[in-house]
Symmetry: C2
Subunit: 216 residues, 2 copies
């Protein structure tokens, strides 16, 4: 039978996992808004971040309460501390989706990006939602093989980001400086989104192996 | 007389404060490397980040040990948890200085930025070192008036960032797309550096007031 403590810990883990999924969905919506110059969808992503911030505060309070009232040690303590950090990463993933949506809002009714790079962002958005869902799975299952999938997706994201950067640096770039600035920032947001998902995955794996140096 | 626990907590606080100062110094060096296209200095900043990562792991272990062995409650628990988060922000500030230095390395022997924007980056570097030193003071003293100074510096940084963005968006921008991409990324790095310093300041102040919702 699970103790009340472990039930609370499981609820915290589930909340953190959900946040990863929500952040992935937000990045998917932001990407769709970007590709379609859809201001209404962009506003929904921006508004959705407030809900996410509410979940963040709740999860952090739950973690804090567990520390204060239960004084966990060993593996349990590692899980609580890792949860606190995972919440911060998932929060940041949601904020990055919001930043994408804010660029859509700033440029509306124009498209923020030239059609030529739509394919890059469609693919980066697809990877982002994958990263969100995989991070969710990893947090729930603690499965190192699933965490390895995060690294593969991150490599794919980095690869796209490099190609996009090459396109920007090409003297043939013909969309002007303003579009280049937007594409630069957007590329950075997707890249950082992937970094945070990978961080979550690594933390969960190291938490399972108990390697303190790498966990925290 | 201070207990051993409080001595350890003070040592942790001092370590976190030092990290803020080190990150500010790294951003100052990175800025100087940027303005002078000084590859050797850029390499020192990049190498210095490894030392910072070592300090980060040590501080995190110290915090974890305090949680595991002392099971602090109330204010003491808040200080330990806030320290864990402050370490993450200071770590990120150091990483952003490294990112600036990496752009210097990538463009060397050329200057990464056109001379026209040197003044912006000189000023953003000056604010960054101020932010690092003020964050250090705030962590050590817990003084809310000093934390308010972080907000003022952040406003000044945002203002410079906005002006820089305006310059990039100006059809008169004559330095091409590659320089615009570098300036965009660099501007973002300084802006984020300031955000992290402000986060540290807010956390310290809320920790002092004990407002849990805002602290964590």
């Amino acid at each position: 039978m699970r103790t009340a403590f472990h039930e609370q810990l499981d609820a915290l883990t589930a909340a953190v996992a959900d946040m990863c999924g929500v952040a992935g969905q937000a990045m998917q919506d932001a990407t769709q808004a970007l590709l379609a110059a859809d201001a209404a969808l962009a506003e929904r992503v921006i508004g959705g971040h407030d809900e996410m911030m509410f979940s963040v505060v709740q999860a952090e309070q739950a973690a804090f309460t567990l520390l204060a009232l239960q004084a966990p040690v060993a593996t349990d303590l590692r899980v609580v501390v890792a949860s606190l950090r995972n919440v911060a990463d998932a929060d940041r993933m949601g904020a990055l989706a919001m930043h994408v949506a804010k660029i859509v809002r700033r440029r509306h009714p124009a498209h923020a990006i030239p059609e030529e790079v739509n394919g890059f962002f469609a693919e980066m958005g697809r990877i982002a939602v994958d990263l969100g869902n995989t991070a969710k799975d990893v947090v729930q299952s603690g499965d190192p093989r699933k965490a390895a999938q995060l690294d593969l997706d991150d490599d794919a994201m980095d690869d796209l980001h490099r190609q996009l950067f090459g396109l920007l640096m090409d003297p043939e770039w013909k969309y002007g400086v303003a579009a280049a600035v937007d594409v630069t920032l957007l590329g950075r947001y997707y890249e950082r989104f992937a970094d945070h998902a990978v961080e979550i995955g690594r933390r969960v794996v190291f938490q399972a192996t108990g390697a303190l140096d790498d966990l925290i």
